[in-house]
């Protein structure tokens, strides 16, 4: 059984990546936060007796399932919203603005031009990842970002290892093509990679 300290360390290590992965999938920061928090709670509630070594795979599985639940709920909500939209008046772009939302934890020593260039490039990469089909994105994220092997990825995604390989290959090819189209070839990415 994992101790609370081990769980805390694991969550601290994974929470930012999990948040970004969820944002790419659901394209809504608030929903992504809810999903990640929900996944954390489910892991602590249902799998308190599991060893810490099993946490990465369990957490990813919970996260993927929570995202699917969100999409299902969203589907039903969208149906009702479409039906009832004619009765209600929208706010027309009036949204609460909080400066804390826009303050990023940046490295203050970095050159502003380099920061801008980097953030623009990252936007391109993030958009390309958002454009990937769901299963391909899942496979890419688990295999390359979470550094899982093919077997673990297959177990987490609930499919065969062959499917994982196919999804990964297609994801990488699509990403490369999308980035190439934006003028971001492998050299540019490698250059950025060495900078970070």
């Amino acid at each position: 059984m994992a101790s609370s300290q081990e769980l805390s360390n694991f969550l601290r290590d994974v929470e930012r990546r999990a948040f970004k992965q969820t944002v790419y999938a659901v394209r809504d920061d608030h929903a992504a936060l809810d999903i990640v928090q929900d996944a954390m709670l489910k892991l602590a509630e249902k799998y308190a007796d599991k060893p810490a070594a099993e946490y990465p795979m369990l957490f990813q599985r919970i996260l993927q399932n929570t995202m699917r639940d969100y999409w299902r709920r969203q589907k039903v909500r969208n149906l009702w919203t479409t039906l009832l939209s004619s009765f209600g008046a929208g706010k027309d772009g009036e949204e609460d603005f909080d400066p804390l939302d826009t303050i990023d934890v940046e490295d203050e020593n970095e050159n502003p031009m380099a920061q801008l260039e980097r953030s623009q490039t990252m936007q391109l990469i993030e958009k390309a990842i958002e454009k990937l089909p769901t299963r391909q994105r899942e496979a890419f994220v688990l295999r390359y970002w979470e550094d899982m092997d093919v077997a673990e990825t297959a177990l987490t995604m609930g499919c065969s290892q062959g499917s994982v390989k196919t999804h990964c290959s297609r994801a990488v090819h699509t990403l490369a093509a999308l980035l190439q189209k934006q003028g971001l070839g492998s050299k540019a990415i490698a250059h950025l990679g060495t900078e970070s």
Binding site: M1, S4, L7, S8, L11, R12, E15, R16, R17, F19, K20, D29, L33, V36, Q37, M40, L41, L43, A44, E45, A48, D98, L100, D101, T102, I103, D104, V105, E106, T121, M122, I125, E126, I129, F140, R143, Y144, W145, D147, C168, S169, A171, V172, H173, L175, A176, S186, I189, A190, L192, G193, S196
Partner: protein, 147 residues
């Protein structure tokens, strides 16, 4: 001649495999580089997001600690024991339904008994007052014994 052609074909095959594998490797490397970039970028979240993630983590850790110690923390932050009724609301609901069924059964039984005794009193040859009068008790006992 055939041998030379075969050898040439083999060399070509090996070369194409090499090109393929280097292509796959370069794509894999590119994927890893993208993942590294995403990882670096994921560390630059807004203060608010980081705070909310921290809150979520703390709540999860608290829940975990409560689970280990035998108590549990509810979603509203309150703490309840692992065998408390609030945690086992399904059991509580089942218990209440069973109690209601048993109470209903007992009530039906007592109502049936009342109806039977009323029918007995009305169907008897003796007047109902006779069953209250103590003087009739010996003859009633004899009648019951005969029945």
């Amino acid at each position: 001649m055939d041998n030379i052609n075969q050898e040439n074909n083999e060399v070509l095959d090996v070369k194409s495999i090499d090109v393929k594998s280097t292509g796959v490797e370069s794509l894999e490397t590119q994927a890893k580089l993208i993942a590294n970039l995403l990882d670096a970028h994921a560390n630059r979240l807004s203060m608010r997001t980081l705070k909310q993630l921290e809150n979520g983590r703390e709540l999860a850790v608290k829940t975990h600690a409560q689970h280990i110690s035998g108590t549990s923390v509810n979603r509203d932050g309150t703490i309840s024991h692992a065998i408390g009724w609030a945690e086992h609301h399904r059991m509580a609901t089942t218990g209440m339904v069973l109690a209601a069924i048993i109470a209903g059964f007992v009530l039906m039984q007592s109502l049936n008994q009342t109806e039977n005794s009323d029918a007995f009193l009305l169907g008897s040859d003796l007047p109902p007052e006779a069953f209250v009068d103590r003087g009739f008790e010996p003859s009633l006992n004899i009648t019951q014994a005969k029945i």
